[in-house]
């Protein structure tokens, strides 16, 4: 009995194998040289945008056009989902959200190059500089966006990709019940009284990287010279309650009161406070490092619709609601916020102008070397 079927089964296997090997032989070959990868990507992108312009994009479905947007999950994503309903109605499209943190999202669109499953990708850690260089996202002319003219200069992307739709800033957060005199400078983290009470974030997290650069800048270094930063961090390690990798751990450290002070982000500070933690944010005198949260149009996706969605996120009404619900500062200068909100985020021409924008191209170029140095330092 077995023998009777055996030949068929094996034949089937061989055929299927051949088909797949053939299909992928192409793929393997195309990876051999950079040029052929590019042609491959272009053909795919071409066919992709072809379907998009044909009407609905995203393949053969005849349902209303669909736009896939990556978001960061949790309350952030919930708010965006709510706000996006308006967009869905206006343009008669269906919006689907997928949860991906910035770095994961970049890895995903990188693996899907030429044939993306995401149309709009959101970044908060400067990933757009890499995505742009790798030709994964599409540049945007601000004049094409109806809200382009109202943006702060700081919101504009130096490489011509989509502008930031929200600001947050890296400063100092502290537990106001445990610390009576508010810190004023990054230097305060080194104080003896905070021994074992400082939460440090690893370099693999963008907040940790930002802090390292802030410290380097404070000590005369910067993107060109990280050593002063690393030296200062070495001095700071005895003060650390822990060096953590993932963002939720910082919240837990504060909630457990194992840490009472840290270099951290306004948006998170807002969320922590909303969740009932006695956490306050201050901008250090050296200046806060800006986080420029942006939504980018993925190359080869539904580019036209994606551009409209990016523009939608820049609308003053949308940005205002977003600031009120999630604590991220508007990048559209026409947005008016309450005094209370203004105090907890980088708001207004002056504050926004003071945000330090890291040179992401340089940062990304050096990140591998810095990570290695950092890891050696931390594991000592």
């Amino acid at each position: 009995m077995i023998a009777k079927y055996a030949r068929k089964i094996v034949l089937l296997c061989v055929v299927a194998l051949l088909v797949f090997v053939a299909g992928c032989g192409g793929g393997t070959k195309s990876s051999g040289g950079n040029t052929s990868t590019d042609t491959n990507a272009q053909t795919n992108a071409g066919s992709g945008s072809g379907t998009a312009s044909g009407g609905n994009g995203g393949g053969s479905s005849s349902a209303p056009a669909k736009l896939v947007v990556s978001s960061f999950g949790g309350a952030y994503e919930e708010t965006q989902k709510e706000l996006a309903k308006q967009f869905a109605q206006e343009y008669n499209v269906e919006i689907e959200f997928v949860t991906l943190y910035s770095a994961d999202a970049l890895a995903k669109i990188r693996a899907e190059k030429g044939n993306p499953s995401i149309d709009v990708v959101q970044f908060s850690g400067g990933q757009e500089s890499i995505a742009g260089k790798e030709d994964l996202i599409v540049p945007i002319d601000l004049n094409e966006l109806s809200n382009g003219k109202d943006l702060y200069d700081a919101a504009k992307d130096p490489n011509g990709y989509a502008p930031a739709y929200a600001f947050s800033a890296l400063g100092i957060i502290y537990n106001e019940e445990k610390i009576s005199t508010p810190p004023t400078s990054w230097k305060d983290l080194w104080k003896d009284e905070y021994k074992g009470k400082v939460a440090l974030v690893d370099i693999s997290n963008s907040f940790g990287l930002q802090f390292l650069l802030a410290v380097a800048k404070m000590n005369g270094g910067g993107e060109h010279d990280i050593q002063p930063g690393l030296d200062a961090i070495r001095e700071l390690l005895p003060n650390a309650a822990a060096v953590v990798k993932s963002t939720p751990e910082v919240g837990t450290l504060f909630a457990q009161e194992e840490a009472i002070i840290a270099a951290y982000d306004t948006g998170y500070a807002f969320t922590f406070r909303q969740q009932g933690q006695p956490i306050k944010f201050v901008t250090p005198q050296e200046g806060a490092i800006g986080t420029f949260i942006n939504a980018q149009v993925v190359k080869g996706g539904n580019e036209e619709l994606a551009k409209k969605f990016v523009d939608f996120l820049l609308r003053p009404g949308i940005q205002k609601q977003f600031a009120e619900k999630n604590g991220y500062a508007p990048t559209n200068r026409t947005v008016e916020l309450s005094e209370e909100l203004q105090a907890v985020m980088p708001y207004g021409e002056e504050a926004v102008g003071r945000l330090i924008r890291l040179n992401n191209d340089l940062v990304n170029e050096n990140k591998a070397a810095w990570t290695e140095e950092w890891n050696k330092l931390i594991s000592q």
Partner: protein, 287 residues
């Protein structure tokens, strides 16, 4: 003329098919990538040995590799001892209780990784439950640093990998012919001798399978070392994650993964040979 296809190929054909499509192709792609240059503008370039050279010439990476192997070996050994005790106990328990005990042993698998590690953080941290307990009993004077250390990683890894060991050992001990044990006992062997000369050799397939399984998984396990070890305890899996997600150096990450795979295949082979040879029971079947 008509040649019959050997039955074993029919039996493994479905598996081979699935693996050819969904494992060999993607991993083959990564293998090719590991010999390609990582271009700064993204994508991969021509053939280079650089990634392997970089790994074997930098003591930093070799240390990570060594630490990974040691931790995995320690985890496998502890899992084996603890798993054997549990599996032996369960297989000797009353029928009605067996499933309950097995389920308790398997419970770590039922909680999502993040949350299980939260539990460990609470227990292991400097002001954690374990330290407080030990301090109050007076066993230690100073709180132990367990969190963010290799010891902590081992404790948490054993916890999540123990179920695999127990399940495998149990299924072997349960299928074991109990009459052989009674025979040995009837012939006057002591409990210890029966165990050493009958039960242990007969459960050798389970021991081999369990330790190799745990060893392999712990090499590539990411979440637990990352959360419990923090940035200080760098292992191959955390380094691969870092290279893949943060530094986007996929060729190097692939090279690391392949080195890991090669190491496991070598270790597995040596281990198999050593143990198969030492087995008292003549079993012609390679496990």
């Amino acid at each position: 003329m008509k040649r019959r296809i050997p039955p074993h190929w029919i039996l493994i054909a479905p598996g081979l098919l699935v693996f050819a499509v969904a494992f060999l192709i993607p991993i083959g792609r990564l293998a090719v990538m590991s010999f390609q240059e990582n271009l700064p503008e993204g994508g991969t370039g021509g053939f280079v040995w650089d990634h392997y050279v970089k790994f074997f010439s930098d003591p930093h990476y070799l240390r990570i590799f060594g630490r990974t192997l040691v931790i995995s070996a320690v985890v496998s050994f502890i899992c084996l001892v603890m798993g054997y005790c549990l599996a032996y106990g369960i297989s000797r328990a009353k029928e009605g209780r067996k499933l309950l005990l097995l389920m308790i042993a398997a419970m770590p698998l039922l909680t999502s990784a993040t949350i299980r590690n939260f539990g460990w953080i609470i227990i292991l941290s400097r002001k954690g439950l374990l330290n407080e307990l030990l301090l109050s009993v007076g066993v230690i004077k100073e709180p132990l640093s367990l969190l963010y250390t290799p010891t902590g990683v081992v404790i948490a890894l054993v916890h999540v990998l123990l179920p695999y060991m127990v399940l495998i050992l149990y299924s072997v001990l349960e299928g074991l012919d109990r009459n052989l044990e009674s025979a040995a006992a009837n012939l006057g062997a002591s409990r210890f001798h029966t165990f050493r000369l009958v039960t242990l050799p007969l459960s050798m397939p389970g021991i081999i399978a369990g330790t190799l399984l745990v060893f392999s998984i712990s090499l590539s396990f990411f979440v637990t070392p990352s959360l419990i070890g923090g940035p200080k305890v760098q292992l191959m899996a955390t380094e691969i994650y870092n290279q893949t997600i943060n530094l986007l150096n996929w060729p190097y990450a692939s090279a690391l993964a392949l080195i890991l795979l090669a190491a496991v295949l070598i270790v597995t082979n040596l281990y198999n040979r050593a143990l198969s040879r030492s087995r008292t029971e003549a079993n012609p079947f390679h496990v």
